[in-house]
């Protein structure tokens, strides 16, 4: 039993931390705008390719390449947000535009990288380390560590700093926040930037473990929707346990039933559907329609 459980625990925890980044970024974004933004996933993909472009194609230092890539993601996220809120205020229009943008980016990268798959270099050497009897690549451990640090920083910011409180209040109730004189527009921009950073960092951390493809903009949503279904979007409390639930389940399937490799998304999807059927209102209350 423990021979299967150990890798699940180790990998599930390490990857779970990065999933939390993705889930939190998305929750923040949805919480404040109440509209789905499908370019969030595209930022994930763009960051991965940007790292490749700067580090491999241009030969920059890896850390510099990473920083530039994250910067690009933030700029792109802000640009899309500004453009779309100005020109497509209707939620339906907004959602449609964001998927078109995500597809545009997919096609763009399919055009630039017709070979399709590029391996994005990891940030550390690839000599494996033993944890709980499981040999793990240092890339994953570093990923987990960075994610943890970032999460702590984020938590401290939201819980303990005045501006963090402002952000949280605005995310929960923009109208009332505006009444109190909070510049809601500015807060929105900050949230967009922060969530872009979160998803970009997640890309930088996870992607070396996998391969970059232009279609990967969907990946963050696999995590996001399970989290949404379990805890509801805009509900921070359940975001973290839900993100771990996804990663543990995925790795349980991968290690328990090796022949199903490549079907993690299906598993996540079925978990989510099963959840809705059993707990229709979700644990956190997911906006059950009449």
């Amino acid at each position: 039993m423990s021979s299967v459980l150990d890798p699940v625990v180790v990998y599930g925890t390490l990857f779970g931390l990065t999933y939390v980044l993705i889930a939190l970024g998305f929750t923040l974004l949805f919480g404040i705008s109440r509209v789905l933004n499908l370019t969030y996933g595209a930022l994930y993909m763009v960051t991965a390719y940007s790292v490749y472009y700067f580090a491999v194609q241009l030969g920059f230092n890896l850390l510099l390449a990473t920083a530039l890539a994250i910067g690009i993601a933030v700029v792109l996220g802000l640009l899309v947000f500004l453009l779309c809120t100005k020109l497509a205020p209707d939620p339906m229009q907004f959602l449609i535009v964001t998927i078109f943008i995500a597809l545009l980016l997919q096609y763009l990268f399919e055009y630039w990288y017709p070979a399709g798959v590029e391996l994005v270099p990891g940030l550390v050497s690839t000599q494996e380390i033993l944890i709980l009897g499981v040999s793990v690549s240092p890339t994953y451990i570093a990923a987990g560590a960075v994610a943890l640090v970032l999460l702590v920083v984020l938590w401290v910011w939201i819980e303990w700093t005045p501006y963090g409180h402002t952000v949280r209040a605005t995310a929960e109730d923009p109208e009332t926040a505006a009444l109190f004189g909070i510049r809601v527009r500015t807060v929105y921009l900050v949230v967009v930037a922060v969530s872009s950073v979160l998803v970009a960092v997640a890309a930088v951390l996870i992607v070396p473990a996998q391969e970059a493809t232009p279609q990967m903009w969907i990946e963050p949503f696999v995590i996001a929707f399970v989290v949404a279904v379990i805890g509801g979007l805009g509900n921070f409390k359940w975001t973290i346990p839900a993100a771990f639930m996804v990663s543990y389940t995925q790795f349980a399937v991968v290690f328990g039933f090796p022949q199903t490799a490549g079907a993690q998304d299906i598993v996540a999807f079925l978990v989510a559907i099963g959840f809705i059927i059993v707990v229709p209102r979700g644990i956190g209350g997911i906006g059950h329609a009449t």
């Binding site: 597809l103 490799a261 299906i266």
Partner: protein, 356 residues
């Protein structure tokens, strides 16, 4: 309570008849039907040409657009899972054809049925959630489809990552042509060329358009539109919206799957590429261009968009999709009402007499 309606009420025409009359006599509907007929007529002049094939492809996308517009366009619940049902229909047709000698009608009906069933199964848990959650879940469906086939095609005894050797769609007309041969009508080409495929697809599109418009004009359609405006307000006055949504999306999934089966028989292959997001990009683009929720507009928009794509594709190859997604973005951002408003403004402008 308020008194019952008197003799006046009983003499009023039945609502169904009134809706039917209103639908059929609407100029946009008549234009769309005439256009469908005209396109077929034009294509039958050169039945195997590039134009004819483009119109075949366009017709399939129009079917998808109609299905999407009827469900998502009316209710506001944006369904991005359309490619999944499209692919499901294609694979259903492929499966049936691979395991026996099948004629086209069987494949199309089977595809439709598979789509209905899958659509119903998917709708039940997901349509209890609000719009954004539903959209997010539907986004995952095409990926599920692709992953499933790629991961399990060997276990499922597929010949490759898909089925091949499906019968051609135009063989639908073979029995008809044969039984009418004593009359010596010049209709042989229907059973052997793209024009024949176009005829079948056009007839179905005409029927679908009519059916969807009738539904849209009925109380059922009114509720769907009400859902887009204010779903809770419907509830507070006694309407449980869930069965309406499920019906609309089940229907739409069935139609999308039929389109997939039809597509598979035009290319005689059903593969993983039928789950691509291209099969949501173009239908939504067509619907936006034709007017969200308007249905009839998708016909003209469909022919235009796909013909343009077919025309540009040899020139720009893989960059064509980049062009079209850019056009789609610009369209949504700047021309929210589709072509209708600028077109009307243009007509108005042309009609205005010169000053002075």
């Amino acid at each position: 309570m308020l008194p019952e309606g008197g003799p006046r009420a009983r003499r009023a025409a039945s609502p169904l008849l009134r809706t039917a009359r209103r639908t059929v006599l609407s100029p946009t509907y008549l234009f769309a039907i005439a256009l469908i007929g005209f396109v077929f007529y034009a294509a039958s002049g050169s039945p195997d040409s590039f134009f004819a094939y483009s119109m075949v492809l366009a017709s399939i996308f129009i079917t998808l657009a109609l299905a999407w517009d009827f469900s998502s366009g009316l209710t506001g619940y944006l369904n991005f899972g359309l490619p999944f049902f499209f692919g499901l229909g294609a694979f259903g047709a492929g499966y049936l054809s691979w395991h026996g000698d099948r004629v086209v009608p069987e494949l199309l009906v089977f595809g439709f049925a598979v789509g209905l069933f899958a659509g119903f199964l998917f709708s039940i848990p997901t349509l209890r959630l609000r719009g954004p959650y539903f959209s997010l879940l539907s986004l995952l469906l095409p990926i599920i489809g692709t992953d499933f086939v790629v991961a399990f095609w060997a276990q499922l005894h597929l010949p490759t990552e898909g089925y091949y050797s499906l019968p051609f769609l135009y063989t639908f007309w073979t029995p008809v042509v044969q039984s009418l041969s004593p009359l010596h009508l010049p209709i042989q080409y229907l059973a052997t060329t793209n024009a024949g495929e176009l005829l079948l697809l056009s007839i179905v599109n005409g029927v679908l358009l009519t059916g969807f418009l009738l539904l849209r004009g009925s109380h059922f359609g009114l509720v769907l539109r009400g859902i887009r405006d204010d779903e809770d307000a419907l509830g507070s006055q006694g309407i449980w919206t869930f069965p309406y949504k499920v019906t609309a999306f089940t229907l739409s999934s069935g139609v999308a799957a039929y389109a997939g089966a039809a597509y598979a028989t035009t290319v005689t292959y059903s593969g993983v590429d039928t789950f691509q997001f291209t099969f949501i990009l173009f239908p939504v683009l067509i619907v936006i261009l034709g007017g969200l929720g308007r249905l009839s507009g998708s016909v003209l928009a469909g022919y235009l968009v796909i013909y343009l794509y077919q025309y540009l594709q040899p020139v720009f190859s893989t960059a064509t999709l980049i062009i079209f997604s850019s056009i789609a973005i610009l369209l949504v951002l700047f021309v929210a009402g589709g072509l209708e408003r600028p077109l009307r403004a243009f007509i108005q402008f042309m009609r205005t007499p010169e000053a002075g």
